[in-house]
Subunit: 450 residues, 2 copies
Amino acid sequence: MTPFKLTEELLVEIHQLISDKKNSDLRLMMKEFHYADIAEIADELDVEEATYLIKLLDSEKTSDILAEMHEDMREAVLNNLTVKEIAGELEELDTDDAADIVNELPKEIIQEVISEIEDKEHAKDIVDLLRYDEDTAGGLMAKELVKVNENWNVLTCVKEMRAQAENVTRVHSIYVVDDEDKLKGRLSLKDLLTTSTKTHIKNVYIPKVDHVEVNEKAEEVAKIMSKYDLEAIPVVDEIGRLVGRITIDDIVDVIKEEADKDYQMAAGISQDVEADDSIWELTRARLPWLILGLFGGLGAAAIMGGFEEMISKHAILFFFTPLIAAMAGNVGVQSSAIIVQGLANDDLKGSISNRLIKEMLLALLNGLILAVLLLVFTWVWKGTFNTAVAISLSLVVVIVVAGLIGTFIPLFLHRRNIDPAIATGPFITTSNDIFGILIYFWIAKLILGI
Amino acid sequence: MTPFKLTEELLVEIHQLISDKKNSDLRLMMKEFHYADIAEIADELDVEEATYLIKLLDSEKTSDILAEMHEDMREAVLNNLTVKEIAGELEELDTDDAADIVNELPKEIIQEVISEIEDKEHAKDIVDLLRYDEDTAGGLMAKELVKVNENWNVLTCVKEMRAQAENVTRVHSIYVVDDEDKLKGRLSLKDLLTTSTKTHIKNVYIPKVDHVEVNEKAEEVAKIMSKYDLEAIPVVDEIGRLVGRITIDDIVDVIKEEADKDYQMAAGISQDVEADDSIWELTRARLPWLILGLFGGLGAAAIMGGFEEMISKHAILFFFTPLIAAMAGNVGVQSSAIIVQGLANDDLKGSISNRLIKEMLLALLNGLILAVLLLVFTWVWKGTFNTAVAISLSLVVVIVVAGLIGTFIPLFLHRRNIDPAIATGPFITTSNDIFGILIYFWIAKLILGI
């Protein structure tokens, strides 16, 4: 399979077809493409062109295209559709995707759109989903699933299943509930097919099934599903009633978003931004961390100002402050990244103090190797052995302290239920810069006098 | 579902049960746990204890436990098993997991282990998989799948499928091949069940099926499967013959590893390490980047040495070098992270020059805001307007240059087919430190003279 590649030529061709209103050519061309590819195309068109394309194609396909499109573009296109058209799109979507789109609509039209949905059951399911936070199991789940009552016999069961399965794209499991809709277990298709039609489900189902509660955090659901290799997991409400089902494709998105977020946080980018966002959005995500860095730099400058009397005799000390700050920052980021990743993957066992001892030894080893390199270089360069020793020795201490801070802060934040990812990147770099330079001048002063 | 939590108490209890050789209690306890949870337990035991546990339990369960265990622990435990015992474990595993384990075995015993596998077909499939690179579709795929010949009729098909399905844990799709085993399409279960038993498959199958070639990169397979929401994808060899199948759970692992790798690279950690790895392994992953940082710092020191004559009149310039270096580093990391992420998600459209212009405007905006803050602070602190202007103005230039470098380098590496993730973290920080300080002193000298 050659993966679809959106080329400049293809885009030009589509622009042309739209402006020439060559509807049948357009329809024919789009017929060949997967809806995810058309969504990619639509994201690159003007809003008017994208709207034209959406109105042109069949709502069975456009609903999926809309669901895959970039949020901003989707919002703009929906703005150009009538309430009835939007309802038509929602009609075709699974309840989870439909609810996500409804959540983005302007508040004043939501009720109207819902009332235009012809399938009342579908509309009710969508409304049900609206009340869940998007970062919870409830926010991820769809209402589409296949469930059977434990009191049915196999024959009724097969009949009912056939009807239900029409609304469900992929049947992963058949869930068994009691008369109060409480989740009791699951049914294997094999058992169902090899059992006499009069047998009651009660006697054949598997009474154990992994499930999550509706308020469980999305991140936690992702962990459970990927640890146990589940392709779908049923969701129950507070009293154990089966209310929905989460499939693995939604979890793949959660895992990606989670990783992207941690990565951006480490790079000093708050909020979820993309390269194509506006300069204003990017500034809002980037500037706060830069201001933090600025204050860190001012702090470092103030500290150096306090050691100004050393400048006449030991100017060289001041030449090495960027080196000290960089090493403190790098070591801090390295150790915090390993801890943050370990926490995210639930890999960290054992006590905080053991971690700190290990990081201390590690930083000491790295610090000593680096200090020897630095000592030789400085000695050769400037020929003053005492200064070279002072700088190198401080480097070791700075690296050890930086490693300890980098290890301790994320563990501490995690204990306090704060996302430890915030401790990577500019936060740790800035604090380590300040501590590093302070320690550096202290030790240098101690060794060199004045 | 309360997720399994490995507590200190539980571990103590298991240690005790093993040392007391309370086999039936142990078996009873493990019966309650999922194999992924037992793998988590085994990872925390001594090698002897873990071996004891593996030998105690049924190979149907222990094979899955072994497959889920940490690589180092698995290797150690397998070392304690006989060739026959290892073959027994492989017998129970799907071919993809079995091949992964065989790849880790010492070369000299591989042949012996393979020859001890009783199911010769299974052994042959495992051997087939051994020749693929683990980062390709071939390295991810399993041989277990359900396939039917286009020339069969529905009745034969159903009979054959039943036999095949016994070896396949989850049937996602039924693939259709011709007499030469070339992939022709897929079959929907629904169509199969509603068609007369004498109809030929040729007349009912869907002739379009997403697939990948055996040498396709794992990363690319992950992109395709998550973009098109596929739960399984068939793999074909160079001439289109169906050779295997990749399921979404393996892709989830690929996505996680990819994200972990990029994150570690950004934090200055090469090689895949975890918090629990040895100090030596961690040093190997961290020290190279620190040495790079050290040389960067030495470069910065050398630059400052070149401007030494300014120190008597403008000592304050030297106090601000950590600030300049930090800002250059932060801006560089921010802009490179956004580009690297955009490239990883295939989100970047348009030309490099447009990107650079946008980043320049963005950096200019951020730089000006930061410069005003810095100007006010420096002026108030030291009262010398000229110096304050020189420092602030250089900051703006440094930030713009840093942003451009951070944007350009990953795009450049990507064009040259080098993983752009290498350009984030210490690499960009270090080069920006040096350029930043050089630009800073140049501009300051230009404005202040001497």
